[in-house]
Symmetry: C2
Subunit: 408 residues, 2 copies
């Protein structure tokens, strides 16, 4: 297959509140688009196609058709083919898959992928209700307070029923993500805590949310955008040569996997009965990515950015990435393998719990962080010597799973 | 480029009201998916990837993440990679482009594309407000009654300013679409009228909507779904052989064009100043499709399915397809060239005004109608001997334009 190169990108500060700053979606898209173009020294006219990942702009901002903002940002984008893609919290990764499919199909030479979500426009209760449209709203969310914490609490219940689940292990995953976020200057929670372990054991962080989940187990809504610039081999080679960069040093999308399970949590778990994995299609997305990258598994990865919308989904990712046997995720937590200085660091950026979860931006942010790691651009959260990183981005209660492998 | 074959598809009856039938989105998606599978004698397990075109399900049905419905329809769809695409009223065509990009990139062998929109869930005023999210809601729709009729009325104003615009020509376009719809057993308006020309000249059909537009100038909201099954050459050849069909008789996507203009009508028209076409990016989408199909222009087409959300957008399409010189669309109306029995019939199906406009389904419905024409499956609205047909699908006030050319 033709290779998709990743030239660079941009992330907004996920601690911001755009409405308070009097910024609308156009403003924030403009900042991110120019931020990404500046990062790779390109101009609007260098971009051939643009893809927007966004979940529920119609609800949070009463706005669809976001591809139309490009030509509002600059007349130089006039005519640029654009589209918007949605698979709930996996919208960003789906956008990357669509952009890379267009490049591989030789339709275009360069692509800009922008993930964006403005969520701080409504009350937490209303925002939580909107998130219910990522499940089967009528059956799982209508009239239900905080439907998604409930659904991901149940993911913990499934682990507990099958294998047992010690709350201390979930607490450690919260700590890990908060700790890592302290090093990330774009992370939502970077200034929230002093001493992470003790702060997370007391006060508001242990307030019960629902079921087994406390506040510390949950990623927080926020406003955020992330952008990536992709290119096919010909354009990447031109770009690299003009900048004196060796093309071999430009990361590529080495592998990917994409599978969708049933929308409702009940049906999903029912269809997964008898499988050794709790979310078999999530596992398959990861193993497909391994296969396409031509690697054996997690031992060939230097870092993972995973979808910790809740500590329970982070817990699930550990065995689904093959880091432990199915159900034995706790082993990797206890032995520190997934810590920042461990063998296979998970979420060096702070992930969603530490970094923030602006839904449509998350998958793009993960891929950008993978790019940062393998190019040595991750600053204070750089994993030393990283050359290959993976992402896992989940939409709905484990409904859409996309895993990407980015490396040099 | 690898070819994308179009095996067949399904359209729901656009005269239906799903809520009154107590059908939810899952039910209707199931009907359309099985309708398409039955049409081509395939099973769920034969489908490799699925794409949903939908505009504003979050608003009309409080539902996103529609790709998750597949595994709710049948466990045999469990794991099927799915995604949803949005570009307002061009969402269906964008979904076809994404599906064909995946096939051309050799990611999958077969793809199901489902366009769907349930709009009869709210009052016309609220539904019209929701449509405002296809423009820049804050600037063009907030507090504005019927924002889209206003915007497309202004498209007529631009023609009037540049070239003059006789209301009789718009009336004739309304007649043409209503007349053609009488032959289409899935058209929304097929039973609405007796004698089309006289009925459309009186009563409710001439009620003023806004600006220059009367009720007869407007497509009507409705509920609808359409599905298409696509395949790469290898899978299409297997499929054709098993059914004793000559692969050369299976239509392909011969060409396509896709461009996006500015979101707001003002900025769009401002950026188009000096161009001989009112919507230059729409023109370019069509000429790109011609170029990719390797044809000279409309003379090589046997039929066109165009986006007549309003008579003004149908009027625009005439010169943008090159049927007349820019601004001289009226010539093709006066000489009957675009009539059902003319040289280049436009909207033999009845288009959006006659057939109905369930937003996310429209682009898929257009492509299905093109497929029907070139395979001799259009029944009472068959254009005799058609072998190549084009579509034009527009999202927003001329923001996203996609043109497809389907032929044998």
């Amino acid at each position: 297959m033709p290779k998709t190169y990743i030239l660079g990108g941009y992330q907004s500060d996920f601690a911001r509140n755009w409405r308070k700053e009097e910024h609308n979606l156009r403003d924030v898209m403009a900042e991110s688009v120019y931020g990404a173009l500046d990062a790779v020294s390109m101009e609007p006219g260098d971009i051939d196609t643009a893809h927007v990942g966004n979940f529920a702009g119609e609800l949070y901002s009463k706005q669809g058709q976001m591809g139309g903002f490009f030509a509002e940002i600059s007349p130089d984008f006039g005519g640029l083919p654009t589209s918007r893609h949605e698979a709930a919290c996996a919208s960003g990764s789906i956008s990357i898959l669509m952009a890379s499919a267009e490049l591989e199909a030789e339709r275009y030479g360069t692509a800009l992928v922008l993930g964006v979500e403005q969520m701080k426009t409504v009350s937490p209760v209303e925002g939580g209700d909107f998130l219910g449209t990522a499940g089967w709203y009528e059956l799982e969310a209508e009239g239900v307070e905080l439907p998604f914490p409930k659904l991901f609490g149940r993911l913990g219940d499934v682990y507990d029923d099958r294998y047992g689940l010690d709350p201390a292990h979930l607490q450690r995953l919260a700590e890990l993500n908060y700790e890592n976020a302290q090093r990330n200057s774009a992370a939502q929670t970077r200034k929230w805590l002093g001493d992470v372990p003790s702060d997370l054991s007391e006060g508001k962080y242990v307030a019960p949310i629902t079921g087994r989940l406390l506040l510390r187990d949950c990623s927080q809504i926020t406003d955020g955008a992330a952008a990536l610039i992709l290119a096919n081999e010909e354009r990447a080679a031109e770009w690299a040569e003009a900048r004196g960069i060796d093309l071999a040093d430009v990361p590529t999308l080495q592998g990917w996997g994409h599978h969708t399970a049933a929308l409702t949590f009940d049906e999903k778990i029912s269809q997964a009965q008898g499988d050794e994995y709790v979310l078999p299609h999530t596992r398959r997305a990861i193993t497909d990515a391994y296969d396409r990258a031509g690697i054996d598994g997690h031992a060939d990865l230097d870092a993972i950015e995973t979808h910790d919308c809740f500590t329970t989904s982070h817990y699930m990712a550990i065995d689904h990435f093959g880091i432990t046997e199915p159900g034995k995720c706790y082993e990797a937590i206890e032995d520190g393998r997934i810590d920042f200085n461990g063998d296979i660091p998970m979420n060096p950026s702070g992930g969603l719990i530490g970094g923030g979860h602006p839904v449509g931006a998350t998958g793009v942010r993960q891929a950008l962080d993978a790019w940062k790691q393998v190019t040595g651009n991750a600053g204070d959260y750089q994993v030393e010597g990283a050359s290959r990183a993976a992402t896992l981005n989940i939409g709905g209660s484990g409904t859409t799973s996309v895993s990407l492998i980015i490396g040099r």
